[in-house]
Protein backbone atom coordinates (compact mmCIF):
# COMPACT_ATOMS: atom_id res chain seq x y z
CA UNK A 1 0.00 0.00 0.00
CA UNK A 2 1.19 3.43 -0.92
CA UNK A 3 0.46 4.89 2.52
CA UNK A 4 2.53 2.18 4.20
CA UNK A 5 5.43 2.77 1.82
CA UNK A 6 5.22 6.49 2.43
CA UNK A 7 5.10 5.96 6.17
CA UNK A 8 8.21 3.80 6.03
CA UNK A 9 9.99 6.26 3.76
CA UNK A 10 9.15 9.17 6.02
CA UNK A 11 10.39 7.24 9.04
CA UNK A 12 13.69 6.37 7.39
CA UNK A 13 14.10 9.93 6.18
CA UNK A 14 13.51 11.22 9.69
CA UNK A 15 16.17 8.85 10.99
CA UNK A 16 18.62 9.88 8.29
CA UNK A 17 18.01 13.52 9.08
CA UNK A 18 19.75 13.01 12.43
CA UNK A 19 22.27 10.32 11.65
CA UNK A 20 24.38 10.65 14.77
CA UNK A 21 21.37 10.81 17.04
CA UNK A 22 19.76 7.80 15.41
CA UNK A 23 23.01 5.86 15.61
CA UNK A 24 23.46 6.63 19.29
CA UNK A 25 19.86 5.67 19.97
CA UNK A 26 20.35 2.42 18.13
CA UNK A 27 23.48 1.68 20.11
CA UNK A 28 21.43 0.68 23.13
CA UNK A 29 19.50 -1.85 21.08
CA UNK A 30 22.65 -3.00 19.31
CA UNK A 31 24.35 -3.75 22.60
CA UNK A 32 21.23 -5.35 24.04
CA UNK A 33 20.63 -7.67 21.11
CA UNK A 34 24.31 -8.53 20.82
CA UNK A 35 24.44 -9.32 24.54
CA UNK A 36 21.40 -11.57 24.33
CA UNK A 37 22.82 -13.47 21.39
CA UNK A 38 26.27 -13.85 22.95
CA UNK A 39 24.79 -15.02 26.25
CA UNK A 40 22.51 -17.53 24.59
CA UNK A 41 25.26 -18.87 22.37
CA UNK A 42 27.61 -19.29 25.32
CA UNK A 43 24.84 -21.01 27.26
CA UNK A 44 24.00 -23.28 24.37
CA UNK A 45 27.66 -23.97 23.81
CA UNK A 46 28.04 -24.99 27.43
CA UNK A 47 24.94 -27.15 27.20
CA UNK A 48 26.06 -28.98 24.12
CA UNK A 49 29.54 -29.41 25.61
CA UNK A 50 27.96 -30.95 28.70
CA UNK A 51 25.88 -33.24 26.54
CA UNK A 52 28.95 -34.30 24.63
CA UNK A 53 30.83 -34.96 27.85
CA UNK A 54 27.99 -36.95 29.34
CA UNK A 55 27.80 -39.01 26.19
CA UNK A 56 31.54 -39.53 26.40
CA UNK A 57 31.04 -41.43 29.64
CA UNK A 58 29.25 -44.08 27.63
CA UNK A 59 25.65 -44.60 26.67
CA UNK A 60 23.02 -46.49 28.64
CA UNK A 61 25.23 -46.33 31.65
CA UNK A 62 24.47 -46.59 35.35
CA UNK A 63 26.99 -45.91 38.05
CA UNK A 64 26.91 -47.24 41.57
CA UNK A 65 28.90 -45.28 44.13
CA UNK A 66 29.62 -46.34 47.67
CA UNK A 67 28.15 -44.05 50.32
CA UNK A 68 24.65 -42.91 51.02
CA UNK A 69 22.59 -40.18 49.49
CA UNK A 70 19.64 -38.35 50.81
CA UNK A 71 16.84 -37.39 48.52
CA UNK A 72 18.39 -33.95 48.22
CA UNK A 73 21.62 -35.17 46.72
CA UNK A 74 24.92 -36.82 47.36
CA UNK A 75 25.97 -37.01 50.97
CA UNK A 76 29.20 -38.74 50.34
CA UNK A 77 30.55 -39.17 46.88
CA UNK A 78 33.23 -41.16 45.21
CA UNK A 79 34.95 -43.57 47.59
CA UNK A 80 33.34 -42.01 50.60
CA UNK A 81 33.01 -45.43 52.13
CA UNK A 82 34.22 -48.85 51.12
CA UNK A 83 30.81 -50.43 51.01
CA UNK A 84 30.87 -51.81 47.49
CA UNK A 85 32.74 -54.94 46.59
CA UNK A 86 33.69 -56.98 43.57
CA UNK A 87 31.22 -59.53 44.84
CA UNK A 88 28.45 -56.89 44.61
CA UNK A 89 29.43 -56.18 41.04
CA UNK A 90 29.46 -59.83 40.13
CA UNK A 91 26.08 -60.28 41.81
CA UNK A 92 24.66 -57.43 39.74
CA UNK A 93 25.97 -59.06 36.59
CA UNK A 94 24.45 -62.39 37.58
CA UNK A 95 21.15 -61.33 39.10
CA UNK A 96 19.95 -58.11 37.46
CA UNK A 97 18.43 -59.09 34.11
CA UNK A 98 18.14 -55.49 32.91
CA UNK A 99 21.89 -55.01 33.27
CA UNK A 100 23.70 -56.44 30.29
CA UNK A 101 27.28 -55.76 31.27
CA UNK A 102 29.10 -54.78 34.43
CA UNK A 103 32.49 -53.23 35.07
CA UNK A 104 34.15 -51.94 38.20
CA UNK A 105 37.12 -49.84 39.08
CA UNK A 106 39.29 -48.87 41.96
CA UNK A 107 41.35 -45.78 41.67
CA UNK A 108 44.23 -44.00 43.27
CA UNK A 109 46.81 -41.41 42.37
CA UNK A 110 50.42 -42.47 41.88
CA UNK A 111 53.67 -41.23 40.45
CA UNK A 112 54.56 -42.82 37.13
CA UNK A 113 58.05 -42.85 35.67
CA UNK A 114 59.29 -43.52 32.15
CA UNK A 115 63.04 -43.04 31.91
CA UNK A 116 63.69 -39.38 32.69
CA UNK A 117 60.07 -38.28 32.58
CA UNK A 118 57.61 -38.65 35.40
CA UNK A 119 53.97 -37.69 35.93
CA UNK A 120 51.41 -37.99 38.66
CA UNK A 121 48.21 -39.47 37.40
CA UNK A 122 45.12 -41.47 38.30
CA UNK A 123 45.68 -45.22 38.35
CA UNK A 124 42.51 -47.17 37.72
CA UNK A 125 42.35 -50.83 38.47
CA UNK A 126 39.64 -51.88 36.06
CA UNK A 127 37.80 -55.05 35.29
CA UNK A 128 38.51 -56.27 31.73
CA UNK A 129 34.97 -55.27 30.76
CA UNK A 130 35.66 -51.62 31.53
CA UNK A 131 36.68 -50.54 28.03
CA UNK A 132 33.54 -52.03 26.56
CA UNK A 133 31.16 -50.68 29.20
CA UNK A 134 32.60 -47.19 28.95
CA UNK A 135 32.67 -47.50 25.16
CA UNK A 136 36.27 -46.43 25.23
CA UNK A 137 38.15 -48.13 22.43
CA UNK A 138 41.88 -48.66 22.34
CA UNK A 139 43.58 -46.59 19.68
CA UNK A 140 46.80 -48.60 19.54
CA UNK A 141 47.60 -52.03 20.94
CA UNK A 142 44.94 -53.86 22.93
CA UNK A 143 43.07 -53.82 26.23
CA UNK A 144 43.89 -56.39 28.91
CA UNK A 145 41.61 -59.41 29.29
CA UNK A 146 40.62 -62.08 31.78
CA UNK A 147 44.03 -63.78 31.54
CA UNK A 148 45.87 -60.65 32.67
CA UNK A 149 43.24 -60.14 35.39
CA UNK A 150 43.61 -63.71 36.65
CA UNK A 151 47.36 -63.55 36.71
CA UNK A 152 47.54 -59.98 38.05
CA UNK A 153 49.72 -59.16 35.07
CA UNK A 154 51.77 -55.99 35.14
CA UNK A 155 50.32 -54.49 31.99
CA UNK A 156 49.02 -50.98 31.53
CA UNK A 157 46.77 -49.14 29.06
CA UNK A 158 47.54 -45.42 28.92
CA UNK A 159 45.28 -42.46 28.47
CA UNK A 160 46.20 -39.95 25.82
CA UNK A 161 47.39 -37.27 28.23
CA UNK A 162 49.71 -39.70 30.01
CA UNK A 163 51.31 -40.65 26.70
CA UNK A 164 51.93 -36.97 26.03
CA UNK A 165 53.52 -36.47 29.44
CA UNK A 166 55.67 -39.59 29.59
CA UNK A 167 56.78 -40.10 26.01
CA UNK A 168 58.59 -37.83 23.60
CA UNK A 169 57.23 -36.92 20.20
CA UNK A 170 57.29 -39.91 17.86
CA UNK A 171 58.22 -42.34 20.63
CA UNK A 172 56.07 -45.45 20.50
CA UNK A 173 54.66 -46.23 23.94
CA UNK A 174 53.58 -49.74 22.99
CA UNK A 175 55.91 -52.29 24.57
CA UNK A 176 57.64 -49.70 26.72
CA UNK A 177 58.13 -50.40 30.39
CA UNK A 178 56.99 -47.70 32.81
CA UNK A 179 57.17 -47.74 36.57
CA UNK A 180 54.08 -47.15 38.68
CA UNK A 181 55.02 -46.74 42.33
CA UNK A 182 58.30 -48.40 41.39
CA UNK A 183 56.54 -51.43 39.96
CA UNK A 184 57.43 -52.03 36.31
CA UNK A 185 54.50 -52.27 33.88
CA UNK A 186 54.52 -53.06 30.19
CA UNK A 187 52.39 -50.73 28.08
CA UNK A 188 50.03 -52.83 25.97
CA UNK A 189 47.62 -50.21 24.73
CA UNK A 190 46.80 -46.56 24.30
CA UNK A 191 43.22 -45.38 24.72
CA UNK A 192 41.43 -43.10 22.32
CA UNK A 193 41.18 -39.49 23.35
CA UNK A 194 38.00 -38.78 25.32
CA UNK A 195 38.39 -35.25 26.60
CA UNK A 196 37.01 -33.66 29.75
CA UNK A 197 34.17 -35.14 31.69
CA UNK A 198 31.21 -33.24 33.07
CA UNK A 199 33.03 -31.95 36.08
CA UNK A 200 36.01 -30.74 34.11
CA UNK A 201 38.32 -33.63 34.76
CA UNK A 202 40.65 -34.71 31.99
CA UNK A 203 39.51 -38.29 31.40
CA UNK A 204 42.61 -39.00 29.34
CA UNK A 205 44.90 -38.34 32.29
CA UNK A 206 44.70 -41.92 33.52
CA UNK A 207 46.36 -45.32 33.42
CA UNK A 208 44.27 -48.47 33.38
CA UNK A 209 45.68 -51.67 34.85
CA UNK A 210 43.98 -54.96 35.69
CA UNK A 211 41.94 -54.77 38.88
CA UNK A 212 43.76 -57.64 40.59
CA UNK A 213 47.13 -56.10 39.74
CA UNK A 214 46.02 -52.81 41.24
CA UNK A 215 44.89 -54.44 44.44
CA UNK A 216 47.88 -56.63 44.97
CA UNK A 217 50.81 -54.74 43.54
CA UNK A 218 50.07 -51.01 43.40
CA UNK A 219 47.28 -49.60 45.52
CA UNK A 220 47.86 -51.80 48.50
CA UNK A 221 44.41 -51.60 49.99
CA UNK A 222 43.82 -53.14 53.36
CA UNK A 223 40.45 -54.59 52.51
CA UNK A 224 40.69 -56.59 49.36
CA UNK A 225 37.74 -56.68 47.04
CA UNK A 226 36.32 -53.19 47.60
CA UNK A 227 35.59 -51.05 44.56
CA UNK A 228 35.15 -47.32 44.01
CA UNK A 229 32.56 -47.43 41.23
CA UNK A 230 30.50 -50.14 39.64
CA UNK A 231 29.35 -49.44 36.08
CA UNK A 232 26.28 -51.18 34.76
CA UNK A 233 25.30 -51.09 31.12
CA UNK A 234 21.89 -51.79 29.67
CA UNK A 235 20.92 -52.79 26.17
CA UNK A 236 18.51 -49.95 25.66
CA UNK A 237 18.07 -46.54 27.30
CA UNK A 238 14.54 -47.57 28.37
CA UNK A 239 16.02 -50.29 30.56
CA UNK A 240 17.93 -47.81 32.72
CA UNK A 241 15.15 -47.19 35.23
CA UNK A 242 14.45 -50.88 35.63
CA UNK A 243 18.16 -51.68 35.94
CA UNK A 244 18.50 -48.99 38.55
CA UNK A 245 15.73 -50.40 40.73
CA UNK A 246 17.00 -53.96 40.29
CA UNK A 247 20.47 -52.91 41.44
CA UNK A 248 19.01 -50.94 44.31
CA UNK A 249 16.96 -53.92 45.49
CA UNK A 250 19.78 -56.39 45.10
CA UNK A 251 22.35 -54.32 46.93
CA UNK A 252 19.95 -53.47 49.74
CA UNK A 253 19.37 -57.14 50.17
CA UNK A 254 23.05 -58.00 50.03
CA UNK A 255 23.94 -55.20 52.47
CA UNK A 256 21.01 -56.08 54.73
CA UNK A 257 19.61 -52.57 54.65
CA UNK A 258 16.22 -52.17 56.26
CA UNK A 259 13.63 -50.57 53.95
CA UNK A 260 13.49 -47.42 56.12
CA UNK A 261 17.24 -47.02 56.26
CA UNK A 262 19.31 -44.96 53.86
CA UNK A 263 21.18 -47.20 51.48
CA UNK A 264 24.96 -47.25 51.81
CA UNK A 265 25.40 -46.82 48.09
CA UNK A 266 24.06 -44.58 45.34
CA UNK A 267 22.83 -45.58 41.92
CA UNK A 268 22.96 -42.85 39.34
CA UNK A 269 22.24 -42.87 35.67
CA UNK A 270 23.82 -40.51 33.20
CA UNK A 271 20.43 -38.90 32.80
CA UNK A 272 20.52 -37.77 36.41
CA UNK A 273 23.98 -36.33 35.99
CA UNK A 274 23.04 -34.66 32.75
CA UNK A 275 20.01 -33.15 34.41
CA UNK A 276 22.02 -31.87 37.35
CA UNK A 277 24.63 -30.13 35.31
CA UNK A 278 21.95 -28.97 32.91
CA UNK A 279 19.93 -27.29 35.61
CA UNK A 280 23.01 -25.53 36.97
CA UNK A 281 23.73 -24.41 33.46
CA UNK A 282 20.18 -23.26 32.91
CA UNK A 283 20.20 -21.08 35.99
CA UNK A 284 23.42 -19.43 34.83
CA UNK A 285 22.03 -18.92 31.34
CA UNK A 286 18.83 -17.40 32.67
CA UNK A 287 20.79 -14.96 34.82
CA UNK A 288 22.96 -13.88 31.93
CA UNK A 289 19.94 -13.60 29.68
CA UNK A 290 18.16 -11.47 32.25
CA UNK A 291 21.11 -9.07 32.39
CA UNK A 292 21.24 -8.95 28.61
CA UNK A 293 17.49 -8.29 28.41
CA UNK A 294 17.82 -5.41 30.82
CA UNK A 295 20.26 -3.74 28.48
CA UNK A 296 17.70 -4.14 25.71
CA UNK A 297 15.10 -2.47 27.89
CA UNK A 298 17.50 0.37 28.60
CA UNK A 299 17.94 0.67 24.84
CA UNK A 300 14.18 0.93 24.54
CA UNK A 301 14.08 3.79 27.00
CA UNK A 302 16.68 5.53 24.84
CA UNK A 303 14.39 5.15 21.86
CA UNK A 304 11.48 6.58 23.76
CA UNK A 305 13.55 9.53 24.87
CA UNK A 306 14.69 10.37 21.37
CA UNK A 307 11.24 9.92 19.90
CA UNK A 308 9.81 12.34 22.42
CA UNK A 309 12.41 14.88 21.32
CA UNK A 310 11.55 14.12 17.73
CA UNK A 311 7.82 14.57 18.31
CA UNK A 312 8.51 17.97 19.84
CA UNK A 313 10.78 19.01 17.00
CA UNK A 314 8.32 17.91 14.38
CA UNK A 315 5.21 19.29 16.02
CA UNK A 316 4.47 21.60 13.08
CA UNK A 317 4.99 18.80 10.60
CA UNK A 318 2.49 16.71 12.56
CA UNK A 319 0.04 19.62 12.56
CA UNK A 320 0.47 20.05 8.83
CA UNK A 321 -0.07 16.36 8.14
CA UNK A 322 -3.27 16.53 10.14
CA UNK A 323 -4.36 19.67 8.28
CA UNK A 324 -3.98 17.94 4.92
CA UNK A 325 -6.03 14.96 6.00
CA UNK A 326 -3.88 12.63 8.10
CA UNK A 327 -5.91 10.87 10.77
CA UNK A 328 -4.57 10.28 14.23
CA UNK A 329 -3.80 6.68 13.47
CA UNK A 330 -1.66 7.74 10.51
CA UNK A 331 0.44 9.86 12.84
CA UNK A 332 0.55 7.06 15.40
CA UNK A 333 1.71 4.61 12.74
CA UNK A 334 4.28 7.13 11.53
CA UNK A 335 6.09 7.30 14.84
CA UNK A 336 5.64 3.65 15.69
CA UNK A 337 7.24 2.71 12.39
CA UNK A 338 10.08 5.07 13.19
CA UNK A 339 10.58 3.46 16.57
CA UNK A 340 10.45 -0.06 15.17
CA UNK A 341 12.81 0.96 12.38
CA UNK A 342 15.35 2.14 14.96
CA UNK A 343 14.99 -1.00 17.02
CA UNK A 344 15.04 -3.36 14.04
CA UNK A 345 18.02 -1.77 12.34
CA UNK A 346 19.72 -1.69 15.73
CA UNK A 347 18.64 -5.30 16.21
CA UNK A 348 20.14 -6.39 12.90
CA UNK A 349 23.40 -4.62 13.70
CA UNK A 350 23.29 -6.17 17.17
CA UNK A 351 22.71 -9.63 15.70
CA UNK A 352 25.73 -9.22 13.44
CA UNK A 353 27.80 -7.97 16.37
CA UNK A 354 26.56 -10.75 18.64
CA UNK A 355 27.38 -13.45 16.11
CA UNK A 356 30.79 -11.91 15.56
CA UNK A 357 31.52 -11.72 19.28
CA UNK A 358 30.35 -15.32 19.78
CA UNK A 359 32.69 -16.52 17.09
CA UNK A 360 35.50 -14.42 18.55
CA UNK A 361 34.89 -15.84 22.03
CA UNK A 362 35.09 -19.37 20.65
CA UNK A 363 38.25 -18.59 18.79
CA UNK A 364 40.05 -16.50 21.40
CA UNK A 365 38.89 -17.83 24.76
CA UNK A 366 38.24 -21.35 23.59
CA UNK A 367 34.74 -21.42 25.04
CA UNK A 368 32.36 -23.47 23.05
CA UNK A 369 29.56 -21.35 21.60
CA UNK A 370 26.58 -22.39 19.55
CA UNK A 371 24.76 -19.68 17.61
CA UNK A 372 21.13 -20.71 17.66
CA UNK A 373 19.05 -19.23 14.82
CA UNK A 374 16.06 -19.10 17.15
CA UNK A 375 18.06 -16.98 19.59
CA UNK A 376 18.94 -14.53 16.80
CA UNK A 377 15.35 -14.43 15.60
CA UNK A 378 14.06 -14.17 19.16
CA UNK A 379 16.39 -11.28 19.94
CA UNK A 380 15.27 -9.47 16.78
CA UNK A 381 11.61 -9.97 17.62
CA UNK A 382 12.27 -8.82 21.15
CA UNK A 383 13.99 -5.73 19.79
CA UNK A 384 11.00 -5.01 17.56
CA UNK A 385 8.70 -5.51 20.54
CA UNK A 386 10.83 -3.07 22.54
CA UNK A 387 10.47 -0.62 19.65
CA UNK A 388 6.70 -0.93 19.62
CA UNK A 389 6.44 -0.79 23.39
CA UNK A 390 8.64 2.24 23.90
CA UNK A 391 7.54 3.90 20.69
CA UNK A 392 3.92 3.77 21.66
CA UNK A 393 3.96 6.53 24.23
CA UNK A 394 5.71 9.14 22.04
CA UNK A 395 3.61 8.07 19.04
CA UNK A 396 0.43 8.46 21.01
CA UNK A 397 1.59 11.84 22.16
CA UNK A 398 2.18 12.88 18.56
CA UNK A 399 -1.19 11.52 17.47
CA UNK A 400 -2.89 13.30 20.34
CA UNK A 401 -1.63 16.75 19.35
CA UNK A 402 -4.19 19.41 18.60
CA UNK A 403 -3.62 20.33 14.94
CA UNK A 404 -4.19 24.04 15.54
CA UNK A 405 -1.73 24.21 18.43
CA UNK A 406 0.71 22.02 16.51
CA UNK A 407 0.62 24.33 13.49
CA UNK A 408 1.28 27.35 15.67
CA UNK A 409 4.10 25.67 17.61
CA UNK A 410 7.34 27.58 17.49
Amino acid sequence: MRLAAMTLRTALRALRRNKLRSALTMLGVVIGVAAVIVMVSIGQGATSAVERQIRSLGTNLLMVFPGATTRGGVRSGWGGASTLTVADAEAIAAECPAVSKVAWIKRSVAQVVNGELNWSTGIQGSSPSYAEVREWPVAHGSFFGEREEASAARVAVLGHTVVDKLFGVGEDPLGAVIRIKDVPFRVVGVLEKKGQNTWGQDQDDTILIPFSTAERRVLGTEILGTVDVIFGKTERPDDLAQASSQIEALLRQRHRTAPAEDADFTVRSLDDMARMSQSANDIMSMLLLAVASISLLVGGIGIMNILLVSVTERTREIGLRMAVGARRRHILAQFLVESVAISLVGGLAGAALGIGVSIAISALAGWPTVIAPEAVLGALLFAAAVGIFFGFYPARRAAGLDPIAALRFE
Binding site: R17, R321, V324, R327, H330
Partner: protein
Protein backbone atom coordinates in the same frame (compact mmCIF):
# COMPACT_ATOMS: atom_id res chain seq x y z
CA UNK B 1 -23.10 18.21 -6.40
CA UNK B 2 -24.97 21.10 -4.88
CA UNK B 3 -27.79 23.15 -6.28
CA UNK B 4 -26.82 26.42 -7.91
CA UNK B 5 -27.08 29.31 -5.54
CA UNK B 6 -26.52 27.19 -2.48
CA UNK B 7 -23.61 28.73 -0.59
CA UNK B 8 -20.40 26.72 -0.23
CA UNK B 9 -20.03 27.96 3.32
CA UNK B 10 -22.98 28.52 5.56
CA UNK B 11 -22.46 29.55 9.20
CA UNK B 12 -25.52 29.97 11.41
CA UNK B 13 -25.20 31.33 14.93
CA UNK B 14 -21.69 29.98 15.30
CA UNK B 15 -19.90 30.61 18.59
CA UNK B 16 -16.61 29.30 19.80
CA UNK B 17 -15.55 29.68 23.42
CA UNK B 18 -12.32 28.53 24.98
CA UNK B 19 -11.87 27.63 28.56
CA UNK B 20 -8.93 29.55 30.03
CA UNK B 21 -8.74 28.49 33.64
CA UNK B 22 -11.80 29.86 35.42
CA UNK B 23 -12.80 32.33 32.76
CA UNK B 24 -14.32 31.73 29.34
CA UNK B 25 -12.82 33.37 26.29
CA UNK B 26 -15.38 34.00 23.58
CA UNK B 27 -13.38 33.86 20.37
CA UNK B 28 -16.44 33.85 18.13
CA UNK B 29 -19.89 35.03 19.05
CA UNK B 30 -22.99 34.26 17.10
CA UNK B 31 -21.49 34.52 13.63
CA UNK B 32 -23.66 34.17 10.52
CA UNK B 33 -21.81 33.96 7.24
CA UNK B 34 -22.47 32.75 3.70
CA UNK B 35 -19.73 32.36 1.14
CA UNK B 36 -20.70 31.47 -2.42
CA UNK B 37 -18.68 29.23 -4.67
CA UNK B 38 -16.12 31.19 -6.62
CA UNK B 39 -15.82 34.07 -4.17
CA UNK B 40 -12.43 35.53 -3.24
CA UNK B 41 -12.76 36.79 0.30
CA UNK B 42 -10.38 38.42 2.77
CA UNK B 43 -10.94 38.26 6.50
CA UNK B 44 -9.38 41.16 8.33
CA UNK B 45 -9.11 42.16 11.91
CA UNK B 46 -6.63 42.85 14.64
CA UNK B 47 -5.14 40.03 16.62
CA UNK B 48 -7.69 38.57 19.00
CA UNK B 49 -10.55 39.56 16.73
CA UNK B 50 -11.42 35.93 16.11
CA UNK B 51 -10.30 35.75 12.49
CA UNK B 52 -7.93 32.83 13.08
CA UNK B 53 -10.56 30.95 15.04
CA UNK B 54 -12.98 31.50 12.18
CA UNK B 55 -10.42 30.18 9.71
CA UNK B 56 -9.81 27.07 11.83
CA UNK B 57 -13.53 26.43 12.06
CA UNK B 58 -13.99 26.88 8.33
CA UNK B 59 -11.04 24.51 7.76
CA UNK B 60 -12.61 21.83 9.98
CA UNK B 61 -9.59 21.91 12.26
CA UNK B 62 -11.94 22.93 15.04
CA UNK B 63 -15.62 22.60 15.90
CA UNK B 64 -18.04 25.34 16.93
CA UNK B 65 -19.19 25.36 20.53
CA UNK B 66 -22.63 26.39 19.33
CA UNK B 67 -24.22 26.88 15.96
CA UNK B 68 -24.15 25.09 12.64
CA UNK B 69 -21.51 25.01 9.93
CA UNK B 70 -22.59 23.61 6.59
CA UNK B 71 -19.86 23.03 4.04
CA UNK B 72 -21.17 22.32 0.52
CA UNK B 73 -24.56 21.64 2.03
CA UNK B 74 -23.32 19.17 4.61
CA UNK B 75 -23.41 19.88 8.33
CA UNK B 76 -19.83 19.41 9.47
CA UNK B 77 -20.14 21.05 12.87
CA UNK B 78 -20.61 17.80 14.81
CA UNK B 79 -18.26 15.46 12.96
CA UNK B 80 -15.73 13.27 14.73
CA UNK B 81 -12.04 13.92 14.35
CA UNK B 82 -11.53 11.23 11.74
CA UNK B 83 -14.52 12.45 9.76
CA UNK B 84 -13.18 15.98 9.85
CA UNK B 85 -9.78 14.68 8.70
CA UNK B 86 -11.59 13.11 5.74
CA UNK B 87 -13.41 16.41 5.01
CA UNK B 88 -10.10 18.31 5.15
CA UNK B 89 -8.52 15.80 2.82
CA UNK B 90 -11.38 16.05 0.30
CA UNK B 91 -12.71 19.61 0.50
CA UNK B 92 -10.08 21.94 1.89
CA UNK B 93 -6.65 23.20 0.96
CA UNK B 94 -4.55 25.09 3.48
CA UNK B 95 -1.86 27.69 2.90
CA UNK B 96 0.06 28.97 5.92
CA UNK B 97 2.11 32.02 6.70
CA UNK B 98 5.22 29.95 7.31
CA UNK B 99 4.70 27.61 4.32
CA UNK B 100 5.01 24.49 6.52
CA UNK B 101 6.78 22.40 3.95
CA UNK B 102 8.32 19.20 5.24
CA UNK B 103 12.10 19.67 5.23
CA UNK B 104 14.41 17.44 3.22
CA UNK B 105 11.49 16.33 1.15
CA UNK B 106 11.22 17.30 -2.52
CA UNK B 107 8.66 19.85 -3.68
CA UNK B 108 6.81 17.12 -5.57
CA UNK B 109 6.59 14.87 -2.52
CA UNK B 110 5.40 17.78 -0.41
CA UNK B 111 2.66 18.40 -2.95
CA UNK B 112 1.74 14.71 -3.02
CA UNK B 113 1.21 14.60 0.74
CA UNK B 114 -2.58 15.28 0.82
CA UNK B 115 -3.10 12.63 -1.87
CA UNK B 116 -1.18 10.06 0.19
CA UNK B 117 -3.73 10.39 2.96
CA UNK B 118 -6.53 10.57 0.40
CA UNK B 119 -5.81 7.07 -0.90
CA UNK B 120 -4.76 8.02 -4.43
CA UNK B 121 -2.59 5.65 -6.48
CA UNK B 122 1.12 6.38 -6.75
CA UNK B 123 1.04 7.09 -10.47
CA UNK B 124 -1.88 9.48 -10.12
CA UNK B 125 -0.25 11.20 -7.16
CA UNK B 126 2.78 11.96 -9.22
CA UNK B 127 0.82 13.14 -12.19
CA UNK B 128 -1.45 15.38 -10.17
CA UNK B 129 1.46 16.78 -8.16
CA UNK B 130 3.26 17.70 -11.37
CA UNK B 131 0.13 19.31 -12.77
CA UNK B 132 -0.31 21.35 -9.59
CA UNK B 133 3.33 22.44 -9.66
CA UNK B 134 2.93 23.47 -13.31
CA UNK B 135 -0.10 25.50 -12.31
CA UNK B 136 1.94 27.51 -9.79
CA UNK B 137 4.80 27.86 -12.26
CA UNK B 138 7.25 25.50 -10.58
CA UNK B 139 7.22 22.53 -12.94
CA UNK B 140 11.00 22.76 -13.24
CA UNK B 141 11.54 22.75 -9.48
CA UNK B 142 9.68 19.52 -8.70
CA UNK B 143 12.70 17.70 -7.34
CA UNK B 144 14.11 20.65 -5.39
CA UNK B 145 14.14 20.56 -1.62
CA UNK B 146 12.43 23.38 0.30
CA UNK B 147 15.85 24.61 1.43
CA UNK B 148 16.79 25.13 -2.23
CA UNK B 149 13.77 27.35 -2.91
CA UNK B 150 13.13 31.03 -2.21
CA UNK B 151 10.36 32.09 0.14
CA UNK B 152 8.01 32.90 -2.75
CA UNK B 153 8.77 29.58 -4.39
CA UNK B 154 8.16 27.73 -1.14
CA UNK B 155 4.78 29.42 -0.81
CA UNK B 156 3.96 28.40 -4.36
CA UNK B 157 4.79 24.79 -3.49
CA UNK B 158 2.49 25.16 -0.48
CA UNK B 159 -0.27 26.49 -2.77
CA UNK B 160 0.29 23.59 -5.16
CA UNK B 161 -0.06 21.27 -2.17
CA UNK B 162 -3.28 23.05 -1.21
CA UNK B 163 -4.89 22.67 -4.65
CA UNK B 164 -3.59 19.22 -5.60
CA UNK B 165 -6.57 17.49 -4.00
CA UNK B 166 -8.96 19.71 -6.03
CA UNK B 167 -10.60 21.09 -2.90
CA UNK B 168 -13.70 23.20 -3.08
CA UNK B 169 -12.25 25.68 -0.58
CA UNK B 170 -8.80 27.22 -0.39
CA UNK B 171 -7.96 28.72 3.00
CA UNK B 172 -4.90 30.89 3.49
CA UNK B 173 -3.66 32.15 6.83
CA UNK B 174 -1.57 35.29 6.31
CA UNK B 175 -0.09 33.77 3.13
CA UNK B 176 2.08 36.82 2.46
CA UNK B 177 3.11 37.48 6.04
CA UNK B 178 6.62 36.11 5.55
CA UNK B 179 7.19 37.56 2.09
CA UNK B 180 8.50 40.86 0.75
CA UNK B 181 5.97 43.11 -0.94
CA UNK B 182 6.91 42.20 -4.51
CA UNK B 183 6.68 38.49 -3.84
CA UNK B 184 3.47 39.09 -1.90
CA UNK B 185 1.85 40.59 -4.98
CA UNK B 186 2.98 37.60 -7.03
CA UNK B 187 1.39 35.19 -4.56
CA UNK B 188 -1.83 37.21 -4.46
CA UNK B 189 -1.87 37.25 -8.25
CA UNK B 190 -1.62 33.47 -8.16
CA UNK B 191 -4.63 33.30 -5.85
CA UNK B 192 -6.52 35.66 -8.15
CA UNK B 193 -5.74 33.51 -11.14
CA UNK B 194 -6.81 30.31 -9.36
CA UNK B 195 -10.03 32.06 -8.35
CA UNK B 196 -10.70 33.50 -11.78
CA UNK B 197 -9.57 30.70 -14.04
CA UNK B 198 -10.44 27.67 -11.96
CA UNK B 199 -13.38 29.16 -10.12
CA UNK B 200 -11.79 28.25 -6.85
CA UNK B 201 -13.30 29.66 -3.69
CA UNK B 202 -10.49 31.41 -1.85
CA UNK B 203 -10.64 32.77 1.67
CA UNK B 204 -7.64 34.41 3.16
CA UNK B 205 -6.89 35.91 6.52
CA UNK B 206 -4.72 39.00 6.49
CA UNK B 207 -4.11 42.14 8.46
CA UNK B 208 -2.71 44.03 5.49
CA UNK B 209 -5.39 46.15 3.85
CA UNK B 210 -3.51 46.32 0.55
CA UNK B 211 -3.64 42.53 0.37
CA UNK B 212 -7.35 42.67 1.12
CA UNK B 213 -7.72 45.12 -1.73
CA UNK B 214 -7.00 42.38 -4.25
CA UNK B 215 -10.07 40.44 -3.16
CA UNK B 216 -13.72 40.88 -4.10
CA UNK B 217 -15.08 40.78 -0.56
CA UNK B 218 -13.64 41.96 2.74
CA UNK B 219 -14.99 40.76 6.06
CA UNK B 220 -13.75 42.66 9.09
CA UNK B 221 -13.87 41.07 12.50
CA UNK B 222 -13.76 42.55 15.96
CA UNK B 223 -14.23 40.87 19.32
CA UNK B 224 -15.48 37.66 17.80
CA UNK B 225 -18.14 39.31 15.67
CA UNK B 226 -18.35 40.36 12.07
CA UNK B 227 -18.00 44.13 12.08
CA UNK B 228 -18.41 44.70 8.39
CA UNK B 229 -18.83 42.66 5.23
CA UNK B 230 -18.05 44.65 2.08
CA UNK B 231 -18.06 43.57 -1.56
CA UNK B 232 -15.68 45.48 -3.79
CA UNK B 233 -14.06 45.49 -7.17
CA UNK B 234 -10.70 43.86 -6.73
CA UNK B 235 -7.46 45.47 -7.76
CA UNK B 236 -5.76 43.33 -10.38
CA UNK B 237 -2.45 42.09 -9.07
CA UNK B 238 0.32 42.31 -11.59
CA UNK B 239 3.75 40.85 -11.70
CA UNK B 240 2.99 37.19 -11.32
CA UNK B 241 5.89 35.29 -12.77
CA UNK B 242 4.64 33.13 -15.56
Amino acid sequence: MSAAGEPLIELRGVSRTFQAGESEVRALEDVDLDVQRGEFTAIMGSSGSGKSTLLHLLGCLDRPTRGVYRLAGRDVSRLSEDERAAVRSREIGFVFQSFNLIPRTSARENVELPLVYGGVSAAEQRERAETALREVGLADRAEHLPSQLSGGQQQRVAIARAIVGRPSLLLADEPTGNLDSRTSVEIIALFQRLNRERGMTVLLVTHESDVAGFTSRVITMRDGRILSDVRQTPVAARGEAA
